[in-house]
């Protein structure tokens, strides 16, 4: 399942380097958080919004967003949903196991654009994983931003990611934090909002000229959330989306992640809405 040899001193673009799993945490019944470090001790060198290719020998590769902020030293974290054979195999791994990583790849969140702006950080489902990297960055560097609102929607309380983090952010003075779930089942101990994430937006009051909204979520979420934001007069150049595609190579070659002329793995995954909203199949 993993290689026992360091592979990184190589010329090839397609060779992973080895990372050790430091710890594994269950997030939901289907999602785990892997804390990793490079075996050679180097930092991953990523920026919030970027992804890596996780490589398991015998299973291939899968693109996974980095869920931790580069401001957190000595490790990086990946939230992995069990969806296919590779992620299924990954869920069988233990702390101390070695996996291959390539990356980081892709265009990160544009911190210059976000600088001193009020932020609406809107995520749904496992979109909270890449968003968490940005939220952590904001936690660590609050002085770079204005008011920060975190909006998160999950299918149900059980499937909400990063419940510990959410509790911290809710308690934190740095953030306004709103959570909602699509529905609850009878046994759930939950007293928060019930309904779609779009319902969280109308009550918000923000200055559309000083606010940037960032959206990361499942494909069905984007259009609905964008429509709500536009009702509040937020313009497309102030809406940032991170788009998930089936990136196979991460380096703009394999062709699996194109959106018209753009390569999601290189030109994205983070886009300003005005860059992609006119493109077929983007949202």
């Amino acid at each position: 399942m993993h290689s026992s040899k360091q592979l990184y001193n190589s010329s090839s673009l397609y060779l992973p380097f080895d990372c050790e799993i430091i710890s594994i945490k269950n997030l939901t019944p289907a999602e785990k958080l892997f804390r990793l470090r490079r075996l050679d001790g180097a930092a991953l060198g990523h920026l919030s919004g970027q992804f890596v290719q996780v490589s398991l020998l015998g299973w291939g590769e899968a693109p996974i967003s980095v869920a931790s902020s580069p401001t957190r030293d000595g490790y990086f974290e990946l939230g992995v949903r069990r969806a296919g054979s590779l992620t299924g195999a990954m869920h069988q791994l233990q702390a101390g196991d070695i996996i291959g990583i390539r990356g980081p790849f892709g265009r990160p969140f544009d911190l210059a654009q976000l600088h001193r702006q009020d932020l609406l950080l809107i995520s749904g489902g496992c979109g909270l994983a890449p968003m968490r990297s940005l939220i952590q960055y904001c936690e660590d560097r609050p002085e770079e931003f204005g008011q920060i609102s975190v909006l998160y929607g999950a299918k149900n309380p059980e499937h909400a990611l990063f419940k510990d983090d959410l509790a911290v952010w809710e308690a934190s003075a740095s953030f306004a934090c709103s959570l909602t779930v699509d529905n609850i089942s009878s046994g759930d101990c939950y007293s928060g909002n019930i309904g779609l994430i779009t319902a969280l937006i109308p009550p918000l009051s923000f200055d559309p000229a000083a606010t940037i909204a960032v959206i990361v979520g499942p494909p069905v979420m984007y259009r609905a959330v964008i429509a709500e934001l536009k009702k509040k007069e937020l313009t497309s150049d102030r809406i940032v989306v991170s788009l998930e595609r089936q990136m196979r190579c991460g380096v703009g070659k394999c062709g699996h992640c194109t959106i018209e002329h753009l390569y999601c793995c290189q030109d994205g995954p983070v886009f300003r809405l005005d860059e992609v909203e006119h493109l077929r199949g983007a949202l």
Partner: protein, 337 residues
């Protein structure tokens, strides 16, 4: 430049194959032509472009990415001898130029360049098209070019490597060859080029309704031949094969005509219908690539039209598209408001 008789050409091939791994168009047992190692089958330089994509020499249908054996990494081998490939028509050379650019841009694809970087590429033109038709010379995009006048071959160097090779050749002067070369170089744009540019304009202006793609898609049997035969198709899939002691990761030609091409593990699929996939196949070459790379990435080699079992290759679709949505400029302008 030098002019070679057929005998001299044969001697030249023999000499070249001492230094390079020479591949050139050959006649296979059932009359199919292909670019293959010299001496593996009778050479068949005449007949135009070979049916398989010539860029397969550098980007084969399946290639190793790496192998891990007993924990030890083995990268794919660099070829023992550099390739010397004859058989790219001028249109094929344009395709090669395009994918050279593609694989070099940003992250340089080392697997491709492992084969490509030391290769000598020779173009093929002149009276060597199908049934002796004239193929206008490329005039570049290669190390050297072989131009056929019906009896002799003009060899024209373009790169330094080409010049070094040509310098050592004998010369059997034939003014006929030079004159024909000059005439052929000044050939006007052909009908298909106008067609494909027009189709590109219509696509970039978003003049083609989805119903058109649905209709073409109904005629697609998803054989993927259009992509697999296309010299500028570069998409690939990746697989791992694992046995007790070894894991082999390899990549293989993939096709955007397959539902699984962009399907995500969640089931979400940005190319989830035949209509969208058919649109992507044409739109990518005629609209997306011009946006990204500044040129249409179909160079009209004709392979997808030849390989498609149901007649919906690039030229066929472009012709249908232009006939229906943009036969004349005036019609386009009148209805374009």
């Amino acid at each position: 430049m030098k002019i070679l008789t057929l005998d001299q050409l044969d001697q030249f091939f023999t000499r070249i194959s001492e230094t390079w791994e020479l591949r050139l168009p050959v006649l296979l047992p059932d009359g199919t032509r292909a670019i293959a190692p010299f001496t593996s089958a009778p050479p068949a330089l005449l007949g135009g472009a070979v049916p398989g994509k010539p860029t397969a020499a550098f980007f084969p249908q399946q290639a190793s990415v790496f192998t891990v054996y007993d924990g030890a990494l083995q990268e794919p081998q660099t070829p023992d001898r550099p390739l010397f490939i004859i058989g790219f028509t001028p249109r094929d050379l344009a395709c090669l130029r395009f994918i050279d650019r593609f694989f070099a841009d940003g992250w340089r694809d080392d697997i491709y360049f492992r084969q490509r970087q030391h290769a000598v590429v020779a173009g093929l033109s002149g009276l060597c098209g199908p049934n002796g038709a004239m193929i206008p010379p490329a005039g570049g995009d290669c190390d050297l070019e072989f131009f056929f006048d019906g009896s002799n071959w003009l060899v024209v160097p373009y790169s330094e490597a080409g010049q070094a090779i040509v310098a050592s050749l004998p010369d059997s002067s034939s003014p006929k060859t030079l004159e024909l070369f000059r005439q052929a170089s000044a050939q006007p744009e052909d009908e298909n080029e106008i067609l494909i540019k027009r189709a590109s304009e219509l696509l970039q202006a978003d003049r083609v309704p989805d119903s058109f793609w649905a209709e073409i898609g109904e005629r697609c049997i998803a054989c993927t031949g259009c992509n697999l035969a296309c010299p500028t198709c570069t998409c690939f899939g990746v697989q791992d094969w694992r046995s007790a002691r070894q894991t082999e990761r390899s990549r293989m030609w993939d096709s955007c005509q397959l539902d699984g091409f962009m399907r995500e593990a969640s089931g979400h699929n940005p190319l989830g219908s035949e209509a969208l996939r058919t649109r992507r196949r044409i739109h990518h070459k005629l609209a997306a690539d011009p946006e990204k790379w500044g040129e249409i990435s179909c160079f009209l080699c004709g392979r997808c039209d030849a390989v498609c079992p149901t007649g919906i290759g690039m030229v066929a679709v472009a012709r249908e598209l232009v006939t229906r949505f943009g036969l004349t400029e005036s019609k386009y302008l009148v209805t374009g408001g």
